[in-house]
Amino acid sequence: MAKLTKEEVKHVAHLARLAITDEEAEKFAEQLGKITDFAEQLNELDTTNVKPTSHVLPIVNVMREDVAQKGLDREVMMLNVKEQEAGQVKVPPILED
């Protein structure tokens, strides 16, 4: 299970939306392989019937009254947007010709 191939790293990079060169894929395959090797030690523990913990506090749902509150102004929201037009965010083409 542990060793990651260069191809696996490239696939993971694609899922994570990271451009990656051949050289980088090789470097990361080695480094990530060491980390996943190290993580294998968790298999020494028998965790049958152990509940997973995703959160340490016994909080389930936090409710509030459904009352409309004023949000941030659009002008303020657009402050950090690099490309925009008429109050809209601009992006490159989603589909190619």
Partner: protein, 487 residues
């Protein structure tokens, strides 16, 4: 020397008696930064103009309306958003990002009358143990500039240790407040998960992250935690548990306190000096009337692996928002949207962040989810149960904060696993969600060592009481690095 050798109490006395004004304290911070930051490299952005304006305004507030932190300067870690003051998480991907609101803790600092003087360097997105993963600069340890200040809140600890500011805020996901506090010889508290609102803290691992105070003494630390703690409608994971008057617990009395010392915290991998300083501290605490017994936290050795899987998994999801579209860096010369995402993230993130995003993505993907992510969550349960069991019979758990003092800049940067091992003593505490403090307890070759005091959920009071009693019986928090002598 500097006005900042004074504690918050002494600073308030000086303000009241007219020895100096609020603006003098603000100016002192900027003067110290100007003198020392060329060496220490702690600050990424300064808030000079607004801070001085604020100081002038605040001078008009009558003394009887001022709290114990009123008018005092503070530095804020750069993953906590500050309206109108650049916030980058020390990442190229957020270069130039101007927050449009304040984090809840920043609002609370303002309500307490504190003055934010600037933003503090860190490991990129809080991923790292040395500050070497910053995209902008490497902060240095004020006790020895060849050494790292620790991380990820390295500059939060270094700026306080250097006397640039008397207070700072850091954040702690696996030790990021406590380990740098230990390395820099200052006091750093990671509160109980949920004690402090995370609203406006740029998320790394949401089930582990917690904001906390870094100061030069225990009293000031307790004051600052009280100011920032409490439930917040903007953070549904903040806990609705009353915030006590922490400083009222600081009476020096720890008679009958039951201290547990886990044998796993003094065993393999822990340096001789760190071990010895903890044993000496336990003798001091015994002398004050505490009882000390050895216990076992049998799953400690699995914490590091579980932590890297869980924190990286959460990070891979949290950091998906950095896509170059709504804020931050955007790659140029791309053909389509997919390329925009990929190139922006490839050029904007550093290697450590990429490693963790990929580790997290891998751990969460079909085929590995059960073997990695779910397994790590189950191990987290076992670790938490270890702590629950010990706390049935003891008030605090004590051990070293880190296995060694600060290492040299460059020493571990090419070996992620060795770098991660610096956090073996702090990580389990985040997985269990309990609070813990690091306070100075000795030196090795002129570099500080830290004592870690761990408490029950929401019992920061007992931690502070213990830390204060120890501080009063020793003189480690009174020592300052040579850099203080700079004219």
């Amino acid at each position: 020397m500097t006005l900042f050798e004074r504690s918050s109490k002494e600073l308030q006395e000086g303000l009241h008696s007219g020895d100096f004004k609020i603006a003098d304290l603000t100016n002192e911070a900027f003067a110290r930064i100007e003198k020392l930051d060329g060496d220490v490299q702690a600050f990424l952005a300064l808030n000079k103009e607004k801070a001085l304006e604020q100081a002038e305004e605040m001078e008009k507030v009558p003394f009887e309306q001022r709290g114990p932190l009123f008018g005092l300067p503070i530095g804020v870690k750069d993953n906590i958003v500050t309206e109108g003051l650049e916030t980058t998480c020390a990442s190229k991907i957020l270069e130039g990002f101007m927050p449009i609101y304040d984090a809840t803790v920043v609002k609370k600092l303002r309500d307490a009358g504190m003055i934010t003087v600037g933003k503090l360097n860190m490991d990129e997105f809080a991923m790292g143990s040395s500050n070497e993963n910053s995209a902008f600069k490497t902060t240095k340890n004020p006790w020895n500039l060849d050494h790292v200040p620790g991380g990820s809140s390295g500059a939060s600890a270094a700026s306080v240790a250097a006397g640039e500011v008397p207070f700072s805020l850091g954040s702690d996901t696996g030790g990021s407040i406590r380990q740098p506090a230990a390395y820099c010889g200052v006091v750093g508290m990671k509160p109980t998960y949920g004690r402090v609102s995370r609203f406006g803290l740029v998320a790394f691992a949401s089930s582990l992250d917690q904001i906390g105070p870094i100061t030069r003494n225990v009293y000031d630390n307790a004051l600052l935690l009280e100011a920032i703690a409490g439930v917040d409608a903007n953070d549904s994971t903040s806990a609705d548990v009353p915030v006590p008057n922490y400083v009222a617990a600081l009476n020096g009395d720890i008679k009958g306190l039951r201290i547990a010392v886990p044998k796993e915290f003094l065993g393999e991998g822990v340096g001789e000096a760190a071990r010895k300083s903890v044993l000496e501290a336990l003798e001091v605490l015994k002398g004050l009337g505490a009882t000390v017994e050895e216990v076992s936290l049998p799953h400690s050795k699995y914490a590091l692996a579980a932590y890297y899987i869980l924190s990286s998994s959460e990070a891979s999801s949290n950091l998906s928002r950095f896509d170059g579209i709504r804020y931050g860096f955007r790659a140029e010369g791309v053909k389509n949207l997919m390329e925009l995402y990929k190139e922006t993230r490839a050029q904007g993130f550093g290697d450590e962040v990429k490693r963790r995003i990929m580790l997290g993505t891998y751990s969460l993907s079909a085929g590995t989810y059960d073997a990695y992510y779910k397994k790590a969550q189950q191990v987290r349960t076992l670790i938490k149960e270890d702590y629950d069991k010990v706390f049935e019979n003891y008030d605090v758990i004590i051990g070293p904060t880190a296995p060694t003092p600060a290492f040299k800049v460059g020493e571990n940067i090419d070996d992620p696993l060795t770098m991660y091992a610096n956090d073996i003593l702090t990580i389990p505490i985040n997985l269990a969600g309990v609070p813990a403090i690091s306070i100075p307890c000795g030196f090795e070759n002129g570099l500080p060592l830290g004592l870690q005091i761990i408490g029950k959920h929401f019992d920061e009071e007992t931690i502070y009481r213990t830390a204060y009693a120890y501080e009063q019986a020793t003189d480690f928090t009174k020592q300052t690095p040579q850099i203080w002598e700079v004219k």
